[in-house]
């Protein structure tokens, strides 16, 4: 993993994910380890994202590294019309690693090909967000004790949610059974379903949320965005259908946990927050440990 870029979840092998997750467990116990002492990490956010950026910056700081960068493109030379190529060629002279979020799909792959230092993709448009996927895997393993043979329900917008796509693909290594709950307009793309099928795994599709709850080890909730619908009436029809409320969690497996990549709007009712099944805020904290593990593996001395 040393000096390797992470652009897409498929860039790493199953063994490499496991190694990162194991290492992240160590940072959860002992977060302050100065493994990036003397290193400079550029954090380039061409579009704003508070959670991901702060999580990366916290991870770099806990490892003793220094952060340079910008938090949205209005405060960078992009507003002067600079190409991504020129920005990356310049910044790769200043830093030992670049963490990048960019609104265009494929931007991170392109950057990794022209940069002299490794790139970590912190989200490229609707395409990939591999560190979110790693923290989801970490959270699943932490709450279930294993990644193998689990029943995982994905709920909400399965069509546009990049976290759902990356996680579904990563989970094909672990004999997962998939339960896909969504309105017809927002089903998982056929390319991802094909990937599941080719891995000889089973997926079931539902429009009725209640059918999937009792069989799940993990319920992975996502936000349904109004702008995804061409017909506003269709949105009104489904908007309250995929909301998880406390009284729906009656007949459940004892090990069930509810995950959500955040930010949440109304798809998980606040009365779920205090239940033992709610795990989404801890999930966000795990992001720092996973990013520390990744940074240390790529750049550590």
């Amino acid at each position: 993993m040393k000096n390797k870029s992470l652009v897409s979840i498929s860039d790493f092998t199953k063994e490499e994910y496991i190694r990162i997750l194991d290492r992240a467990e160590n940072f959860a116990i002992n977060p302050n380890q100065r493994l990036l002492e003397g290193k400079v990490v550029a954090v380039l956010f061409f579009e704003p994202s508070t959670r991901t950026r702060l999580s990366f910056e916290a991870a770099i700081n806990r490892l003793g590294g220094r952060v340079i960068g910008f938090t949205d493109s209005s405060s960078s030379s992009v507003t002067k019309g600079e190409s991504l190529r020129d920005t990356i060629l310049t910044v790769s002279n200043y830093a030992d690693l670049i963490v990048m979020r960019h609104p265009k799909e494929g931007s991170a792959r392109f950057a990794s090909e022209i940069s002299s230092v490794p790139i970590i993709n912190a989200g490229d448009g609707a395409n990939q967000h591999p560190t979110q996927c790693l923290l989801d895997l970490y959270s699943i393993r932490k709450t279930q004790g294993t990644l193998d043979n689990l029943n995982i329900s994905f709920v909400g917008d399965l069509k546009y949610g990049r976290t759902v796509h990356s996680l579904s693909i990563a989970l094909t290594h672990f004999n997962t059974t998939y339960h896909l709950v969504s309105p017809n307009e927002l089903k998982l793309p056929s390319a991802v379903k094909m990937h599941i099928k080719n891995s000889k795994l089973i997926y079931n599709q539902y429009t009725d949320f209640s059918q999937a709850i009792s069989i799940s080890d993990i319920i992975y909730m996502t936000r349904i965005q109004k702008e995804r619908f061409s017909d506003p009436i269709e949105y009104e029809k489904v908007k309250d259908t995929y909301v998880l409320k406390a009284d729906m969690l009656q007949d459940i497996k004892p090990n069930l946990k509810v995950l959500h990549p955040l930010p949440r709007v109304n798809e998980i009712s606040e009365d779920v927050d205090n239940l033992p099944q709610a795990y989404y805020f801890e999930q966000a904290l795990n992001g720092v440990y996973v990013r520390q593990a990744l940074l240390a593996s790529i750049l550590g001395n």
Partner: protein, 153 residues
Amino acid sequence: MEKIRKELVVSAIENGTVIDHVPASSVFKVIRILNLENVNNQILFGTNLDSEKLGKKGIVKIRDKYFEPEEVNKIALVAPNATLIIIKNFAVVEKKTVEVPNTVEKFVKCVNPNCISNHENIITQFTVIDKVKTKLQCHYCEKITEKKNMVFI
């Protein structure tokens, strides 16, 4: 007699390559994909010729030029049934059909308007994930470009 007359619609070449059974609508695309606009060789072509196999077909003859297989396979995207004929001394020395390649570079545009390859100066690259239906996956944005959406650069 009729048959001979038809074959002579585009005159024979002494040495070089003939690309036959090109769909009539794809002749100019084939010329562009093989970058024949920028070579000094003599090129003869015909289109909307009668064909038993295709109804109407096109044919391209390039004098004194032989292609590498991967170079010619690029045209399989627009001319999947094309035949490649190597001519030496007016005689056919080799005849083969084109094959859809594993990867495609440069001449196809990614269908995704939000793909970085449509915004920066980038040479496009695709993996062919379905050779029968001709589906290309973009190396950059990972979206799939299908045959019906294919635009040639």
